[in-house]
């Protein structure tokens, strides 16, 4: 079976004051229906840009697909017309954003906003669309959906607003759901509820999910595959369990060990956290023919500064872009 989504050597360029910079540089991936793929990395690494490119929502006149293909369900989205993309968006591919407060319209009730999305894509009457909206609110486990559909976003808690966003995204039963940091603004107990909900809905509908996050713990709970992004490039790609067990890229190692995790064998002693010194390079340094992580890396050698590291395959389908991946 062909994968639902295939991205081949995608390159996205942004025009900035300092010239053209590749925010996504040679990215390839495969995603099957019913599976979850996760993007991790710090801010400014190109995670959200990838999502926007998949949706065909790159900022106009600034961003463009310079090379590569995005094949969704047999159709190359980079060649599709704006009209066709408009049909696909919200219908076959939909998206949940990070901030549930700012991505809902404050002057319309939640039910109206969901019904609007339904009516934009399906030929339903107002009444039928409203009924469907109420049904969807019930599906995302909002208590008393009939009564809550007339509520405005400010009358809902953060978790409920995010549920309403999910209901809207699911309105047309998309084949691919992109969740861009869906729980970053929420408390942990609410995050657990939202993750549970997404997993259940995925089981029912067979949709594929792309989860964008910076939390390795969330990746471990939710996803089957993970792509670690750094400065617009893939650092590591493969099954989550294999990568957490044995990360082959120093950046992945840093991302896992720099966060204090709650572990089963806690001890009285607390060693210092592993630091990844420095910060992500600025956009104008993207696209150089060298390892962009080298300036922050403890394993740096001459070779890292001379040439961009190639992709190296390992057992179990793990891919790492590092000159020293075998030794790590």
């Amino acid at each position: 079976m062909a994968p639902l989504l295939t991205v081949e050597n995608l390159r996205i360029e942004l025009t900035t004051r300092d010239g053209v910079a590749p925010v996504i540089d040679d990215l390839s991936l495969n995603l099957n229906a019913g599976e979850t793929l996760s993007f991790v990395g710090e801010s400014g690494c190109g995670k959200s840009m990838t999502a926007l490119a998949l949706m065909g929502l790159l900022p106009e006149k600034v961003g463009r697909v310079a090379a590569g293909k995005i094949i969704f369900d047999g159709e190359d989205l980079t060649q599709a017309s704006p009209q066709r993309l408009r049909e696909i968006r919200g219908n076959d591919i939909s998206m949940i954003f990070q901030e549930p407060m700012t991505s809902l319209n404050p002057v319309f009730s939640v039910g109206e906003q969901i019904a609007e999305a339904i009516r934009a894509h399906q030929n339903l009457s107002r009444k039928a669309a409203w009924d469907k909206a109420v049904e969807l609110l019930d599906a995302v486990r909002i208590p008393n959906p009939k009564g809550r559909a007339v509520d405005y976003p400010f009358q809902m808690s953060g978790g409920q607003r995010q549920r309403a966003m999910i209901a809207m995204a699911l309105a047309c039963e998309p084949k691919l759901l992109i969740a861009d940091e869906p729980t970053t603004a929420l408390d942990v107990t609410v995050q657990a509820q939202i993750f549970d909900l997404l997993t259940d809905l995925q089981k029912q509908s067979g949709a594929a999910i792309i989860l964008i996050t910076h939390d390795m713990g969330a990746v471990a709970e939710m996803a089957r595959d993970v792509i670690v992004m750094y400065a617009g490039r893939k650092a590591e790609y493969g099954p989550v369990d294999a990568i957490i067990e044995h990360p082959r890229h120093p950046y992945t190692q840093g991302l896992i060990s720099c966060v204090p995790h709650i572990v089963s064998d806690m001890s009285e002693e607390r060693p210092d956290l592993v630091e990844v010194p420095g910060i992500v390079p600025s956009l104008k340094d993207f696209g150089r023919d060298e390892c962009l992580f080298a300036s922050r890396c403890a394993h740096r050698t001459e070779q890292c500064l001379a040439e961009r590291p190639p992709e190296k395959p390992f057992a179990g389908g793990q891919l790492a872009d590092c000159w020293h991946a075998e030794e790590l």
Binding site: S43, G158, V188, H214, P260, D272
Partner: protein
């Protein structure tokens, strides 16, 4: 070790109006009869979800928010009734690190002026000595001397938080209140700031009151932990006790909700889901505030509010069935 900070029965309430301009006045108890202690040189973490009152409690301790009732003892002295010069003296001893490094620094001031500001307003040191202190602080938090002349927008998020930390250290405080100091930062930068905070604690013998919702961070930073829910402390224990043997159902649910990379832990733990939302803070139900979401709630929980009781070994829990 002696207690540096001893908070007893602290209550902070806000007036709210219900039902428009002519509505009845009601009170929202953001912090309701809360007690906790912090030993000198240690870190107490207050954890809880948004709206649990943890930040309000911290602001009250810093005298940045008026308390309605209770005692806040610093070094054995109640600081709540203090005014004027006495309060100014206390402010030297209690400093604050804020959550958002972008909005907590004055954009029109140079970094050195920002760090020096507490010295200007709280101490009577001569100018040369102040400049010397500021220089030392920049070194202590890992910033370069030439960066002293820069403005906040020229720094990255992590560097700004370092400026915020240097400012909090300026008056050589005994207690530093860190209100979610890393939650606005990227994960790799978080580690840098957390390591810095622990290093400074060792070097200067600081006591931290650490407010956070991230249990991973809390586990790493704190010596003891107070868990808050709807304005109440529901559990207060030493770090190892709380994480290896959480006794309040809310703490258990909170701990089980944290995603982890540890596969053994993930397999062993069953996620305790707490359904629904917290009750309306203005019209609190009778009895335990957690009862409507609690997996083990009984009739008794809906009648009597449980008190925070000590088990004799310093592990305090407010639950009828713990």
């Amino acid at each position: 070790m002696t207690d540096l900070l001893n908070v007893e029965n602290l209550t902070v309430r806000f007036e709210v109006k219900r039902g428009g301009a002519f509505g009845k006045k009601a009170h929202l108890y953001a912090v309701d009869d809360v007690s906790f202690t912090v030993k000198a040189g240690e870190t107490l973490a207050i954890v809880g979800e948004s709206g649990s009152g943890k930040t309000t409690a911290a602001l009250a301790v810093a005298r940045l928010q008026a308390a309605y009732a209770g005692r806040i003892e610093l070094d054995g002295e109640d600081i709540l009734p203090m005014e004027g010069e006495a309060l100014r003296q206390v402010r030297q001893k209690v400093q604050f690190i804020f959550q958002d490094p972008y909005s907590s620094l004055n954009p029109r001031k140079r970094a050195e002026a920002i760090v020096q500001e507490p010295l200007d307003s709280l101490s009577d040191k001569p100018a040369a000595e102040k400049a010397e202190i500021v220089k030392g602080l920049f070194e202590a938090v890992g910033l370069r001397p030439e960066q002293m002349r820069l403005f906040p927008h020229q720094f990255s998020g992590g560097q700004r938080q370092r400026i915020g930390i240097a400012r909090a250290l300026a008056t050589q405080p005994e207690l530093i209140i860190c209100d979610e100091p890393v939650s606005a930062l990227d994960v790799a930068v978080q580690a840098q700031i957390l390591n810095l905070l622990r290093k400074l604690q060792k070097d200067f013998g600081l006591t931290y009151l650490f407010i956070s919702h991230d249990l991973g961070v809390v586990q790493h930073m704190s010596d003891s932990i107070a868990v808050m829910y709807m304005g109440k402390v529901v559990e207060h224990a030493r770090r190892m006790d709380l994480f290896s043997n959480p006794r309040h159902p809310y703490t258990q649910a909170l701990l089980s909700a944290v995603p982890t990379v540890d596969r053994a832990k993930r397999a062993a733990q069953k996620r305790i889901l707490i359904p629904g939302d917290p009750p309306d803070p203005v019209n609190l139900p009778k009895g335990c505030r957690f009862a409507n979401r609690c997996p083990v709630a009984q009739d008794k929980c809906r009648q009597d509010e449980p008190a925070l009781l000590d088990d004799g070994k310093g592990h305090r829990v407010a639950c009828h069935f713990s």
